[in-house]
């Protein structure tokens, strides 16, 4: 058995994974990254819009600072986030953007003088100061008070991913692609590494390390309609959850993006609306300004997704063979703007729809998009339950986003959390020595070999992998999407229980030899169904509405009973997840209040509870004014 050893093993080579690895390597530690695909193909590269950071360089960002960014993030989370984490993030973000500029990211810069921008279909003027010429500039992104989303045209994720991977090459970090971690090696106390399946040969390998970091992104592919890449299917969450001692934080916290194109659900960036695009219904009329007078199309994603769904339910959707949808209109932004600032959008319309957005409307509908849920860690990125295990980025519930993530904050999180948590990994590794229990390693390898053998030879049954997976995906779409209610969720949980039984009985149709995809899918299936059950069950138990979690039967935000975070454990041998709850945050810099968008009533928290945890902060006064 081929065995590799390093100080740090990072599972995932997207922005977060590589940023953590860079931090370790810069401090003299040996870091190895594993990825299912070549690093630059990671889903980080798909992010179009940009990264939020309170640099305050551009005209519309004047007066911005980390306090304002912090407030936007906490409000955005609908007070579900850990405020210590949100503060760490907001304070570090501007410096991280400058570091990335130093490493090579070609950020767009301030161009002095007069220019125009659109908001809600109307044209406005702005004037960029000469003294800021050449500094990193920013664009408007839904939900923020000031313009602070740093960008490179509309391919920010891609550009930053290139620079990050270049940096890994410079630092001599081993980045192995076509490697899939299929289980963690642990002794119930500490994590020692992972059993990995090579996706070229199908052979198993062992990767041992003093510290392991799971940075595998989101798990959108357990839904039928998602903007996510094919590889975002929960592999990292599954192996952590399977240990029986690691919880998934807020599994019910899933973000739906308002504009996925129909039928492929490819994402069209929020930047279209940020730059002035509008949403139209079957009558080609705007409607967002009626539901949300102040923010209209620029309200946060959960609000826009909800209003779009509401409007379609009211009969104003466009009918099509792929289901109902609405229209995104960017015609008025003009040829020059579309060709430069929204070029990727132009290409998407051309390649996948045969539509010219300069003269035609783009068919869009809400789609699963981001996983606020994740492997629960503390503010250092250390995973609950196992020593020597970390997680960063979308895969983690750090918990920066609570119940809704702002556009531009996720991309920023990858590198900022990567840096902060990377530094904590370095602290952990300094002077740390350990032993590797060969009994535990061999037992785990044997377990995986047997599992693979059984599935290839149909020892557990011969149910079709793809059909069972499809059943899970459909159940979530039906019962646990933008709007949720008791009956739908109960039915969803019940269906998924049946699906889980089936997942245990799948057998391959093909021979499973070599780079076999059917086997890769089969090995993840039961873990995916468990994740799905956690989402549905946690959503059923949370009898309130907060951020993206919307209960038609419990429309109020209930701070009195639900100012907490769900922790979903799956003890060994169990058939249902075990839910525990913890406080959302140890302290309040910004006490619970109203987001200012999305509507809905709030049942206030116990005054004493809030007062005991409120700390002095300039934010308290700024927050009250908004």
């Amino acid at each position: 058995m081929q065995t590799y050893y390093s100080d740090l093993l990072v599972i995932g080579a997207g922005l977060s994974g590589e940023r953590v690895a860079c931090e370790a390597a810069q401090n003299g530690f040996k870091a190895t990254c594993l990825s299912i695909v070549p690093a630059r193909r990671s889903h980080s590269s798909a992010a179009q819009g940009g990264m939020q950071a309170a640099l305050g360089n551009c005209a519309k960002g004047e007066g911005d600072n980390t306090d304002v960014h912090f407030i936007d993030t906490v409000k955005g989370s609908d007070w579900g986030c850990d405020q210590e984490v949100a503060r760490l993030f907001a304070d570090a973000a501007p410096i991280e953007m400058r570091r990335l500029a130093h490493w090579g990211v070609p950020w767009n810069r301030v161009v002095p003088g007069q220019s125009f921008y659109f908001k809600g279909g109307e044209k406005f003027e702005k004037y960029e100061k000469e003294e800021n010429e050449g500094l990193i500039t920013a664009r408007s992104f839904g939900g923020t008070a000031k313009w602070r989303t740093c960008y490179t045209s509309d391919g920010t994720g891609h550009a930053v991913m290139c620079t990050m991977d270049n940096r890994c090459a410079e630092l001599g970090i081993d980045v192995f692609d076509k490697k899939e971690a299929i289980s963690l090696i642990h002794d119930g106390d500490k994590c020692m590494g992972a059993v990995v399946r090579c996706l070229r040969t199908g052979q198993l390998e062992v990767f041992l390390a003093k510290a392991t970091a799971i940075c595998t992104g989101g798990f959108g592919r357990i839904y039928k309609a998602t903007t996510n890449a094919v590889i975002c299917d929960g592999g990292g969450h599954i192996i952590a959850h399977e240990t029986g001692v690691v919880p998934i934080g807020n599994p019910e916290s899933i973000q739906f993006h308002p504009t996925g194109i129909v039928p492929t659900d490819i994402l069209v960036t929020e930047g279209c609306r940020g730059d002035g695009g509008t949403l139209l219904d079957v009558n080609e009329e705007r409607f967002m300004h009626i539901y949300e007078p102040e923010k209209a199309e620029l309200a946060s994603r959960d609000v826009v997704s909800r209003r779009m769904t509401e409007h379609m339910r009211a009969g104003k959707g466009v009918k099509s063979p792929y289901g109902e949808h609405l229209w995104l209109d960017i015609r008025h932004l003009g040829d020059k703007h579309i060709s430069t600032k929204l070029r990727e959008v132009d290409e998407i319309c051309h390649h996948f729809l045969g539509v010219d957005p300069r003269v035609e409307l783009i068919p869009v509908r809400p789609t699963q998009h981001y996983t606020m849920a994740g492997i629960r860690t503390n503010k250092d990125g250390a995973v609950y339950g196992l020593k020597g295990l970390y997680s960063a980025g979308e895969a983690a519930c750090w918990d920066m986003h609570g119940f809704n993530r702002l556009g531009g904050n996720s991309l920023a999180e990858t590198v900022v959390a990567g840096g902060i948590i990377g530094a904590k990994v370095v602290e952990f590794l300094k002077g740390y020595e350990t032993t590797f229990d060969t009994k535990a390693i061999n037992a785990e390898v044997k377990r995986q070999e047997e599992r693979i053998h059984d599935v290839i030879h149909g020892r557990n049954g011969k149910l079709n992998v793809y059909q069972v997976r499809n059943e899970m995906q459909e159940a979530l779409m039906k019962g646990c999407f933008v709007f949720r209610n008791k009956e739908g969720l109960e039915e969803c949980v019940s269906t998924l229980q049946g699906t889980m039984e089936k997942a245990r009985k799948v057998g391959l149709v093909s021979d499973g030899v070599g780079a076999n995809h059917e086997l890769a899918a089969a090995l993840k299936l039961e873990g995916q169904v468990r994740l799905a059950m956690c989402i549905a069950h946690a959503a059923l138990m949370r009898t309130e509405s907060r951020g993206s979690h919307n209960r038609e039967d419990f429309p109020e935000r209930n701070d009195a009973e639900w100012l907490n975070r769900t922790l979903a454990y799956w003890p060994e041998g169990a058939d249902m997840p075990e839910l525990k709850y913890e406080d959302t945050t140890p302290l309040f810099e910004l006490p619970p209040g109203d987001r200012g968008y999305g509507g809905g009533k709030i049942i206030p928290a116990d005054e004493k509870y809030v007062k005991e945890r409120t700390v002095k902060s300039p934010v308290t006064e700024i927050g009250k004014k908004k």
């Binding site: 695909v37 500029a101 030899v513």
Partner: protein, 246 residues
């Protein structure tokens, strides 16, 4: 629509004992807005789960699904079947090592390229977290981004006349990478340093000027321009070196 599509797909699994490279046929009913992403996944899920191919983003931005489609390298995910004849022949990209069927190993090839070209900003400056960022002209940033748009799909390498002849030719993707650093003011390498890497016939002087790379690049990168730009620059550098030696 209503067409019945005939797929002829290259099959070979190097891990399977006794397997021999061969073409295999599949029939599939065409549906509206069908792409090869939709078609190949349907073939695998409904007809033959042993099929090996790579899709990742399925949105034309990650470069995973490059393959030879009716004789021409391209991204499968953004190839609409309605733009193809009813008989669709699929091969893996040449030049790259075969993993199986339509999947090739671009990952290792490109990591080698990063090492050869030293694909990172070379600078003696140390980052100071307390300082403001170094300013840059926005048009320069956009110029760099133009060349950074490469998704490393491998189409340019697969289509290249020289790369088909010689394993050691860097190819358009590598030369474009160098060009990206040449236009980046933060990279402190001199023309002589770039010359050491690409000023030979594994590099820019190996280019025969057939420019199939420009024809097939799915991102429409200005490869012809960049190859011309580098050739001139490296040519001048070579001349300077000759005259300096005298």
């Amino acid at each position: 629509m209503g067409r019945q599509l005939k797929f002829e797909i290259f099959r070979y699994n190097p891990e399977k004992k006794g397997d021999v490279p061969h073409m295999q046929e599949y029939i599939l009913d065409e549906t509206p807005n069908m792409t090869l992403f939709i078609a190949l996944n349907r073939l695998r899920e409904e007809q033959d789960p042993s099929l090996i191919f790579d899709f990742c983003c399925r949105a034309g931005i990650c470069g995973a699904c490059a393959m030879v489609i009716n004789g021409r390298p391209g991204l499968a995910c953004q190839t609409k079947t309605k733009d193809q004849p009813g008989h669709i022949i699929l091969h893996p990209l040449p030049v790259f090592k075969l993993v199986g069927d339509l999947s090739v190993d671009t990952g290792v090839w490109f990591r080698d390229m990063y090492a050869k070209t030293e694909s990172w900003v070379h600078t003696k400056k140390v980052f100071d977290p307390a300082k403001e960022e170094e300013r840059m002209d926005n048009s320069v940033a956009e110029q760099i981004y133009e060349l950074e748009r490469c998704i490393e799909c491998g189409c340019c390498i697969a289509a290249c006349g020289t790369a088909r002849l010689r394993d050691d030719f860097m190819g358009a993707a590598a030369l474009n990478r160098i060009a990206r650093f040449v236009v980046d003011p933060r990279d402190e390498r001199t023309d002589e340093q770039y010359f050491e890497v690409i000023g030979n016939d594994n590099g820019i002087f190996g280019c025969m000027g057939l420019l199939a790379c420009e024809d097939v690049c799915p991102k429409g990168l200005p490869l012809q321009n960049q190859l011309g730009f580098l050739r001139r620059k490296m040519g001048i550098t070579a001349m300077k070196q000759i005259f300096r030696k005298k």
